[in-house]
Symmetry: C2
């Protein structure tokens, strides 16, 4: 039977039906995601560069120039202008690249390493488990302190001749905590060990909140031990998916994992993805230029203000915080019913909440699409549960 | 100093300046890329779903339903409707996923494997070198025959107790050749070894060209030994970047590499990328529905017709083919000057050609953006070189 396709009208009618089944960020009902409504300026820039492929940068010299500029801007934001990196698909690709750079660099320095190990906080994102499986690394989980930040002593105890990388987190996925990176940086410097900071979530807010007066520990390239940082424009940077960022202190880390590309307009490639959209770079560039630091300050400050509202409302409704929020993530539970049961009841009321695994709690990420009215409605619903 | 950002007008003026420095597919000057102008229907579908994240599919149930449907459509195209897979970033992520599935499955069956090996044709894409480095696999390159297809005997000689995967290619990156997959499938079945077919380039054209009457060897799931296939919608499928596809014969291959995802709306994740745009799925779905098999037949047939024109024109201009084209890739050289020098002269005339590494040649991929008028102009320029 011939398949001549269906009409354009019918294709888009069916697409709209599919879309109706998707939730929207704009509804304010997505409480458990680190993604958000992309900013219109980022969206338009993204759409302008949908044809561009940074996997073949000789063909797209304008996009490549933009990528170079945006990497410098991100480096500047994170304490070191003279930096090397790429705009990639997101935090997972960034974290895997960092672990690969660390492993390959350690093997270059010390070819005797047989069973390379990485030490990550128990709070680290699951992409490090993925990286460990992919890259044949043993993964050691360092303990957390009572505030769910990594226990530096636990890291120190785990160090061995096989350690190829230590990971610290600036804005943990589940609770938004910032690890004591300065102490870890000193330990890594003393022991000549690669330190990667996963700031996928916090990278686009900690620097701005610090300028406003919030207090955070140091976490970026100003600390000499930090070798690489993950920072995700598609989280608090307001860019569309897929837009991640990976920055390295030295070019040698990119070189340590570059693969020869015989037929392309660049000679070697260090990203995991090969053909790589330039649209993500354009969105990141446009948003940094348009919003400027002042614009991003407003965005992160507003998220913190709404976080406070939510925090107070949850306590007032009789629920328990599992920890004090440090960034725009609130985690709480009920004295009376389990986290699973609480999640179920909230889902029945239309809220897409997420559950943290350690500690078990309901986790709300106050992304820029969560407005005051959504928080108020959520608190009303919490109260209506009569717990 | 306060950075208040720049105006929207100024942002887009600067973006346009960057864009002017990029080449366009529409110009017909990009002769060495496997990407092309995305089809307008795919672009519009892509733009409709820019907010959707298949890394958290419980929030985007419409997009998830579309992905399930599109995987079945791709499976149907490649000989097996009942198939498992994902729409991902491109051929590299697909090939790495396949090698990871193969390695992990082999280790589950035989935990004694110490130094896992993969056997790939010398003509395989460089993503397999990337996969080997990442996944700690030894990579063995099987020889090619005089037509630059893999030599099946060479594969057989390389098999060992450490072999965890064999790779065959349906549409090699440099020359567009289709390996004798049926023989390789039989060998892999006999030896109980995982066979992956990289049809990133050929997957969206060989099935259509076969229906028109072109002759190709079997290469898909109809061959019982084939465990997985890479097929790239952002190449001959006309979708925007990033849009790749990976299909597995059995779900166990996805399971063998799945990682627990503690806080998301799915429990486990097998893709490399975590947060994953649903826009690519929407574009793939829309194009398959809109164009139908008849539409794709026209696209691939037209590319082959123009390939013939180019082939004849190159011979007429006194250049040498290094091999007969099997798909829409033409590779040639000059008797008088080196490939590098020929590439330089063509670049001076504005053509972005690519050079194949084995054999050394100028390589032109006749993607859908290359029209008859571009080929005629190129032939004129070849003649004007007076070689």
């Amino acid at each position: 039977m011939e398949d001549k396709g269906i009409s354009k009208t019918e294709v888009f009618r069916q697409l709209k039906e599919f879309k109706k089944k998707d939730m929207t960020h704009r509804s304010g009902k997505i409480l458990g995601s680190m993604c958000t409504c992309p900013h219109p300026v980022g969206l338009r820039a993204y759409q302008m560069f949908l044809e561009s492929n940074l996997g073949d940068p000789g063909l797209f010299k304008g996009t490549k120039a933009m990528e170079d500029e945006v990497i410098t801007l991100l480096g500047d934001l994170l304490g070191k202008q003279d930096i090397h990196g790429h705009i990639i698909t997101g935090g997972t690709e960034a974290n895997i690249m960092a672990m690969r750079a660390a492993r390959n660099s350690a093997k270059l320095e010390n070819p005797g390493i047989k069973d390379p190990e990485i030490i990550v906080p128990k709070s680290a994102h699951f992409s490090f488990k993925k990286a460990a499986d992919m890259l044949c690394l043993n993964i050691m989980e360092a303990k957390l302190d009572s505030n769910y930040k990594v226990d530096v002593n636990s890291i120190e105890e785990m160090l061995s001749k096989n350690t190829v990388a230590v990971v610290a987190v600036a804005g943990t996925t589940e609770l938004g905590k910032v690890d004591p990176v300065e102490d870890i940086s000193n330990i890594c410097l003393e022991n000549n060990i690669y330190l990667h900071v996963d700031a996928a979530f916090g990278g686009y807010s900690i620097p701005f909140l610090t300028e406003i007066g919030y207090e955070f520990p140091k976490f970026d390239f100003k600390l000499k031990g930090v070798c690489s940082i993950t920072i995700d424009p598609h989280k608090m940077g307001l860019a569309p998916i897929p837009t991640g960022g990976i920055l390295f202190r030295e070019k040698k880390y990119l070189d340590a994992m570059s693969i020869e590309t015989p037929y392309l307009t660049e000679d070697r490639q260090s990203t995991i993805v090969g053909t790589r959209t330039g649209a993500s770079t354009a969105a990141t560039w446009a948003l940094m230029k348009y919003l400027g630091r002042e614009g991003y300050k407003k965005v992160s400050n507003q998220c913190m203000e709404i976080t406070k509202l939510l925090y107070e409302g949850i306590i007032e409704s009789g629920f328990e915080m599992v920890t004090e929020p440090q960034l725009n993530i609130v985690a709480f539970k009920s004295k009376d019913i389990s986290v699973d049961e609480l999640a179920r009841r909230l889902e029945n009321l239309g809220w897409a909440v997420s559950k943290s695994s350690y500690p078990r709690a309901i986790r709300v990420i106050v992304m820029p699409h969560i407005k005051e009215k959504h928080v108020k409605a959520f608190i009303e619903d919490l109260k209506s549960l009569n717990l």
